[in-house]
């Protein structure tokens, strides 16, 4: 009864009064969890090193001698209850880098701001119409001295220090910083159990509910980002994710730190892992650009 009264008076002063009277903690309404919520606590992932399943994919790039590959499960999207198919090796210099939160923050802020152009512009005293003539003589009228009726202290006058014209917030972080941001994001996703590797994106039905049930059953999180290499995706996955907001599919070239932070879980295919390792590890042993990389080089694909 009390809860009904609270929900009815949402957004008013009485809301705060009622909550203080009832002695509840001042938690905002969107964060309040109802006590009758049925939720299954997340199961802890079993480490693949202790199992007998075969290693289905080894790293193609060279791994430094003092490091060993990170291992994770290989899943399949064929049916909801399918067991992991095997174990997959991931390169430690992409999926087990030291987690630099400062670089992650810098790359995320850059992604938000470098595209921003603020179009705010206000008229200064020179641009407001009128105000060329001195309103009254300098001395003798008894009123304060003024030079124009559009000065900033006048009503209707121009703005003194307002936003001036379209301003661009464009800047570029060094290429290697952006690459390290991607590696840190992938590492964080893997260590926090939010990264899943899938052999291919073939699903039996184009029904969005199938994907939602699968994600809920496997406890993959509230939102899933599926990444695949290539220009063509299987039709079923495309139709299923078209109408869904929490499950999205993007090509591997579109992978970015902001999307990885926005979506809770990341699902990569084996081809995507190979592509990402190749592209991200190239930066570790490349020369500096003699001329832009858009132009041909002898070993550039």
């Amino acid at each position: 009864m009390f809860r009904a009264a609270l929900s009815a008076s949402r957004g008013g002063i009485c809301n705060r009064l009622l909550s203080s009277l009832s002695g509840e903690s001042n938690v905002p309404s969107n964060l309040r969890i109802p006590p009758n919520l049925i939720g299954v606590p997340r199961e802890k992932k079993v480490l693949p090193s202790a199992s007998d399943l075969p290693v289905l994919r080894r790293c193609e790039e060279n791994i430094p001698a003092h490091l060993s590959p990170v291992q994770t499960w290989l899943h399949s999207l064929e049916s909801q209850d399918s067991e992991p198919l095997g174990i997959v090796d991931l390169h430690p210099d992409v999926f087990a880098v030291p987690v630099r939160l400062d670089i992650l923050h810098a790359v995320e802020v850059w992604q938000r701001n470098f595209k921003r152009i603020s179009y705010a512009k206000v008229k200064s005293r020179a641009e407001v119409s009128g105000g060329g003539k001195k309103p009254w003589r300098q001395k003798g009228s008894g009123r304060a001295r003024h030079g124009s009726i559009r000065s900033p202290i006048w009503r209707g006058g121009g703005v003194a220090h307002g936003p001036r014209g379209p301003t661009s917030y464009y800047y570029m972080l060094p290429m290697k910083v952006r690459v390290q941001g991607l590696k840190v994001a992938l590492t964080s996703k893997l260590t926090q159990d939010c990264l899943h590797i899938v052999d291919s994106l073939e699903i039996p039905t184009p029904d969005p509910h199938y994907l939602q049930d699968l994600v809920k059953h496997r406890q993959w999180g509230n939102s899933v980002l599926i990444v695949d290499v290539g220009e063509e995706f299987p039709q079923n996955v495309l139709q299923a994710t078209e109408t869904l907001k929490t499950i999205s599919i993007i090509p591997a070239i579109g992978l970015n730190v902001h999307s990885m932070l926005k979506y809770e879980t990341l699902v990569l295919t084996l081809d995507t892992v190979k592509f990402l390792e190749k592209k991200l590890l190239w930066h570790d042993s490349r020369f500096t650009a003699l001329y832009p990389f858009k132009l041909p080089y002898s070993d550039w694909p």
């Binding site: 003092h66 190239w282 490349r286 020369f287 041909p296």
Partner: protein, 176 residues
Amino acid sequence: MAASFRSVLMTLSPGCSFRRRIGLPVRYVVNVGACVQSEHSNVGGKGKVVESTEEYKFVERLIPPTRVPTPPKHEGPTPSGWTPPSETPPNLPYMIRRSRMHNVPVYSDIKHGNQKSTIVRKVEGDIWALDKDVKKYLQQLTGREPPTQVNEVTGSIRIKGEFDTELKEWLVKKGF
């Protein structure tokens, strides 16, 4: 891509700008390394121009690579003084990787023209153990322990004083 590159190389011959300046007619010539006449088939009586791509290999061999090559196998120091890292990483709690040009990542820094410091970068593992070892080694060398700054986040150590050659030799001797 190949066509645009070729068009970039279809430059004027060196004398052209000079000829232009004094008002003489200018002939465009393809700048290709070797003799060309053998590849062009006979122009024939009709005066047709034959396009041949056989000479492009001379352009291709000039295009630089992007990756730093791995150095050939050497046992011990090379004549230039460069020493390859040991095959197996040394049995220590820390690891110092080589830079992309296969050099030891020890750099000297200078501030305000007189404050010299040395930076050891790319440290992985227990960085404090390396800090202790560095301090012990420099105590033996100079007789006093230099102040150091350990940055765990970036995996680097900044040492007050100019010890880059000594630290490089010491790290190479350890096998990094």
